[in-house]
């Protein structure tokens, strides 16, 4: 054995060094670059948005329907990093929290924001159970709640306004406004027409995650005109059975002059900003 190592010394050194090189290279692409990254992940029919702040805080808003989010999240983080600073479960529906069940199991999650609404579904009880098993505390957030990061990024909750009785849990969905210097974005989950406008006076934003996978009732026309987003991203699954995104809504977006991206056609969509300028990257 020791003889074998002696003879093949060079081989071991070369293999060791090339392993190290591959490791370092892969990490270098995933470290903070003092820019804000917001990536709408292509998780199929559902929502999942990954945010990396300029100094490298990691936030996941929803997790899509299943474990499809895991390899996508794996690509965003260095291989040794299994932690997230904030996870948001916008409301208790399977296409938003299904994947989060696996995420909180495998990742070390520091903060969890949720909607106040609850559900009788299997996936929701699974979610509560996993939270319990891992001793994770959640905070129900309402409009006015905020998380301010040292690098200047602000995440503000702009919906729900407060607790009220509901029949459609979409109306309880947590909507988050992203502010970084002059860059403004809205992650609107499934909060559709019924609850618009949200509790925010924001207008002329850069980025909108279109509510409710681009359903027919996703947006009020006048509210869209006010927001007037430069780009709009629709997160929907290829050939989904709901017919999302709706044709009328697509027309409305087009007439509003916003550039539309769709995860069912372009895969994951990323927007990168230094606070003044921004650009987009798509998977396909």
């Amino acid at each position: 054995m020791s003889e074998y190592i002696k003879v093949n010394k060079h081989k071991f050194v070369i293999i060791g060094l090339s392993f190290l090189a591959i490791g370092i290279w892969s990490v270098s692409f995933r470290l903070p670059d003092s820019k804000l990254h917001v990536k709408v992940l292509s998780v199929g029919q559902g929502d999942s948005i990954f945010i990396r702040t300029p100094s490298g805080y990691k936030i996941l808003v929803d997790g899509g329907p299943d474990d499809k989010v895991l390899p996508l999240l794996g690509e965003e983080l260095p291989f040794y990093d299994k932690s997230l600073d904030l996870v948001v479960a916008t409301h208790p529906q399977a296409d938003h929290i299904g994947g989060l069940v696996d995420v909180v199991k495998r990742y070390n999650v520091k903060n969890i924001w949720t909607s106040y609404s609850e559900s009788q579904t299997q996936v929701y009880s699974q979610w509560r159970q996993v939270l319990g098993e891992n001793n994770l505390k959640t905070t129900s957030v309402f409009a006015g709640d905020k998380m301010i990061f040292p690098d200047g990024l602000e995440l503000s909750v702009v919906w729900p306004r407060g607790k009220s009785s509901y029949t459609d849990s979409n109306t309880t969905a947590v909507v988050i406004q992203i502010d970084y210097k002059e860059f403004e974005g809205l992650l609107s989950s499934d909060a559709d027409q019924q609850v618009q406008p949200y509790e925010s006076g924001v207008s002329d934003i850069e980025f909108l995650k279109v509510p409710h996978h681009g359903s027919k009732t996703a947006l009020k026309k006048e509210y869209l005109a006010k927001l007037s987003p430069q780009i709009s991203v629709i997160s929907a699954g290829e050939k989904n059975r709901y017919g999302h995104p709706n044709k009328l809504l697509l027309d409305m977006l087009q007439n509003a002059g916003t550039k539309v991206f769709r995860t069912d056609q372009q895969g994951s969509v990323e927007i990168v900003s230094d606070g003044t300028n921004w650009y987009t990257k798509t998977e396909r």
Partner: protein, 396 residues
Amino acid sequence: MSLTATGLILIRSHLFKSGEGIELINEGQVRIQGMVNEEPRQRGQRLYFNFQGYHITTSIYTKLTHGDIIALDGQSNSKEQIYFPKIEKIGREAGFWVSLSDFRTRIKDKIDSFLPEPQSSLLSGVLLGVDEGLPKDFDSALRKTGTIHVVVVSGYNIGVVGGFFISLSSLLKRRWAIVAALLAIIFYTFLTGAAAPTVRAAIMGGLAFFATALGRQNWPIYALLLSAFIMLLVDPTLVSEISFQLSFMATAGIILFKDYLSNFLKKIPSPFGEDLAVTVSAQALVVPLIFFHFGQVSPISPIVNALILWTIPFVTYIGFGIAFFSFAFEPFARLLSFIAWVPLTIFIWVVEIFSKVPASLIQIPKQNFLVLVSFYLVLGVIIFSLLKYVRIYKSK
């Protein structure tokens, strides 16, 4: 013979169905209580398992594991399938198999907490033989490139495990190295859950491997034939099981052709040439079976396998270390998993690139006997003429 075989199957399924705890309410409506006797398989958002003779499909949010005692309430169709029944967990059975399953789950959970996807489930696949957690896209990339076998424990994995200890021969006495290899193979078989197809692959692969290690030229094929013969004697219905046919043919192919092929391919640098020889020789006999049963074969499979098989021994040995240290000293297990990340990532990278090759699957209708027979005939002729050529060449 075929009559007896059908008889056996019938009696068996009858025994299963009349098991305790099954209540037939009316037309297809069943209520069953009992233990989940296998690890449910996950695909996408669905969970599949066999339960007291029924095939159950449920949602992944019904988390179930081997050993759970459940009460199930559902509608069975004519094929004994029950879709999305009401399932209630009542308790948990104790015993060796359940403990083994818990042990495996614990290692898998640790690996999941160390590594991102799809690296973590690939490692669990190679090490524990669990292929249910594979991300869907990656799973189909593996199938397209003909590399899914690395996450389904096969004779190849058994050879990898045994080979490591034989390579320690210079350190240990040869006899002890062989004993260590034998113990390692047994341990590995249990680590992978010791399901019937795995045990058969381990017996066939292991025996052939030892016969090779002992160094008599014709022993491996005799060992393989003997083990297959004994298994068939115990259970003749095995002959119709796909996993049995594949294990047998792959092992036979490697025994018969590998040495010739590696000689032929020795210009290709190690380890790629050697891996190509292993893959091609195994596939020579397996490909027609795959065509026959599944109707599709990946023609790029030998190239992809040649490019990536070298990573599997690395992953397996480091994986043993991870499994051990995840119980003994976790930080070290984490460190080892970072080392394993590199070969895993190379593997994934190559598979993903090749899975994008257009039309990487050849498809023909299933169950075509003519193709099966003519393939073996052509192969026979080629081998025969090659052997003749070798003989003439040698006698010169």
